[in-house]
């Protein structure tokens, strides 16, 4: 597949701190790329550099196979974006805001109508934007971003401020864009559930460093199960299994084992029973994506 966005060792330093450090991001055509990371991880800074709003300290960005530095205006003419909070003229109506973008994008009236309809603002188009709720402003921002139905859409935390129903609507909208309009979508979020339900590939960034990049499938494959065993005498069982070559760890009333095959579990059970230790429970605990994410980004950070 064609690479729509590629960054090569992209870095941004503020003072002596690297906000983005040697990030190699790759987004292919038709993907919904989820850019995930805790607050302050460097997501927005990376996206701003991709849009040319912030100059990188180091590295290079290519969009549509073209160097961003040399082709910024060409790239931007085919890219829609919503960065950080939605941008709007509060004293103007929703429709007037759309008209401003329409004039700058030089697109026909039908695009305005369709974009307003997609985000379900057609009944509020004559209301001043200052009277909109945060969710409506967010939807207006998305409408402005998709107005020209660009090849590439970059949405930075698009569900911020939306209620659960609104989040669901936006999620469905984003999922439909590659299919309906052949768009490639980059969506950033600090909410794992958002990305999990929307993205086809994912990049996880933490402290400015890309921790993981790949398909959502490959991320889910990191869900290695943990086998938890409870016996009548965990202390003796621990000693016995350790001597047999297992590496158990004590977790509350259980002994935990990582990466065990079914055969190994059966063998382990046999050892315990043959040595007169009653086995009360054998449980398989699967890791969810959240714990994978926390493993990658560090548990001490807030999500």
């Amino acid at each position: 597949m064609n690479e729509i966005i590629s960054t090569y060792n992209l870095s941004k330093r503020y003072g002596s701190t690297y906000r983005v450090n040697n990030v190699n991001l790759s987004v292919c055509e038709g993907e919904i790329y989820g850019f995930l990371g805790p607050n302050g991880a460097g997501k927005t800074t990376t996206l701003k550099m991709i849009l040319g709003l912030t100059r990188p300290t180091g590295g290079k960005v290519t969009v549509f196979g073209k160097d961003l530095n040399e082709n910024r205006y060409l790239v931007l003419s085919q890219t829609g974006s919503l960065i950080e909070s939605p941008s709007y003229y509060g004293h103007l109506t929703g429709l007037e805001n759309m008209r401003i973008v329409q004039k700058l994008r030089d697109v026909p009236d039908k695009n305005v109508e369709e974009a307003m309809k997609i985000v379900r603002l057609e009944n509020h188009k004559d209301k001043k934007v200052s009277q909109y709720s945060l969710g409506m402003k967010q939807r207006l921002g998305i409408a402005m971003a998709i107005l020209s139905f660009p090849k590439l859409l970059i949405l930075d935390e698009p569900t911020n401020g939306l209620d659960p129903a609104g989040i669901g609507e936006i999620r469905e909208l984003i999922k439909s864009l590659p299919r309906r309009y052949e768009m490639t979508v980059v969506i950033s979020s600090h909410l794992l559930s958002e990305i999990e339900q929307t993205a086809t590939s994912v990049g996880i960034i933490n402290d400015g460093i890309m921790m993981f990049q790949g398909s959502m499938e490959s991320l889910k494959n990191k869900k290695h199960p943990t086998i938890m065993i409870k016996t009548r005498n965990n202390k003796l069982a621990h000693e016995m299994l350790f001597n047999s070559g297992y590496l158990p760890t004590q977790r509350e009333d259980f002994l935990a084992f990582e990466n065990l095959t079914d055969e190994k579990v059966a063998q382990l059970n046999r050892i315990l029973v043959e040595n007169g230790i009653d086995v009360i429970r054998i449980e398989e605990h699967k890791k969810n994506l959240e714990s994978i994410f926390l493993d990658l980004t560090g548990k001490e950070r807030s999500l």
């Binding site: 701003k48 849009l51 040319g52 709003l53 912030t54 100059r55 910024r72 205006y73 060409l74 931007l76 003419s77 890219t79 974006s81 960065i83 950080e84 909070s85 939605p86 941008s87 709007y88 003229y89 509060g90 004293h91 103007l92 007037e96 008209r99 401003i100 973008v101 004039k103 700058l104 994008r105 001043k128 934007v129 402005m144």
Partner: protein
């Protein structure tokens, strides 16, 4: 041209023209009342020179504030809704945006300048001034305030785009108003440093007090031309410095 019309479109419901016109009415009203009182006390003052000198002096007080208000309104809407960032992602060149804002502000401020000239002519005709309407003098008056306005606009735009809190830009406009009004009291070397002093500095008529009598002297156009050229050069310098500074800032 498209960008300028877009800037004017964005000013919908801001009532900026109305603000400017009301402000102008206050200024003109004040100037005309003061002139009428002066004529009532001394009928010799019933001339175009006195009226132009009065308006020039009032402009020093009012126009810096009016320019600050006008520019602030034009720039603040980008700060309030975080729209500068959005415009830059719509493949708009920041330099073009900056110049469109400048051109819009200059256009809006040009309207009260023309209205002032028309008001002077109307007042003179209604009050039966002896001489015919001094077209050339009024043209020089108009040129002086337009050039000074354009320079002050460049300066105010730089401040309004750089400092988000518009109270700063408006306070600067008020300082400008005070400076513009009191400019003639400063020594010439100091006066020339302040852009606001040119509302009276480029006026074609100046006042002089001799033996407790006020005299109105028409300045030689040739002597004001170098001053105008220097102010235009300063205006271009301030505009370019502001444009480069603002457009290079990261969003």
């Amino acid at each position: 041209m498209g960008m300028i019309s877009l800037e004017l479109y964005k000013l919908r419901r801001k009532h900026l023209f109305l603000t400017v016109i009301l402000f102008l009415f206050v200024e003109i009203g004040w100037a005309f009342i003061a002139t009428s009182m002066s004529i009532a006390r001394n009928p010799d003052n019933a001339g175009w020179e006195a009226l132009i000198a009065m308006l020039s002096s009032m402009n020093g007080l009012f126009l810096p504030v009016l320019v600050a208000v006008c520019v602030s309104r034009i720039c603040d809407m980008e700060h309030k809704g975080n729209t500068w960032k959005m415009l830059l992602t719509l493949s708009v060149r920041p330099g073009a945006l900056y110049s469109a804002k400048y051109a819009s502000a200059c256009f809006i401020m040009f309207v009260p300048c023309v209205l002032q000239v028309l008001a002077i002519a109307t007042y003179g005709i209604i009050n039966g001034f002896g001489q015919p309407v001094p077209i050339f003098l009024l043209f020089r008056f108009l040129a002086g305030i337009v050039i000074t306005n354009m320079t002050v606009t460049a300066f105010q735009q730089w401040v309004s785009m750089t400092v988000k809190n518009q109270a700063f830009a408006l306070a600067l406009g008020m300082i400008g108003g005070f400076t513009g009004m009191a400019a003639d009291l400063f020594p010439e070397g100091i006066r020339r440093i302040f852009v606001w002093s040119y509302y009276t500095g480029l006026s074609p008529v100046t006042q002089s007090y001799t033996s407790e009598n006020i005299q109105f002297i028409i300045r030689d156009a040739g002597s004001l031309l170098p001053v105008m050229l220097v102010l235009i050069a300063a205006g271009i310098g301030i505009y370019l410095a502001g444009c480069v500074h603002v457009t290079r800032q990261e969003v």
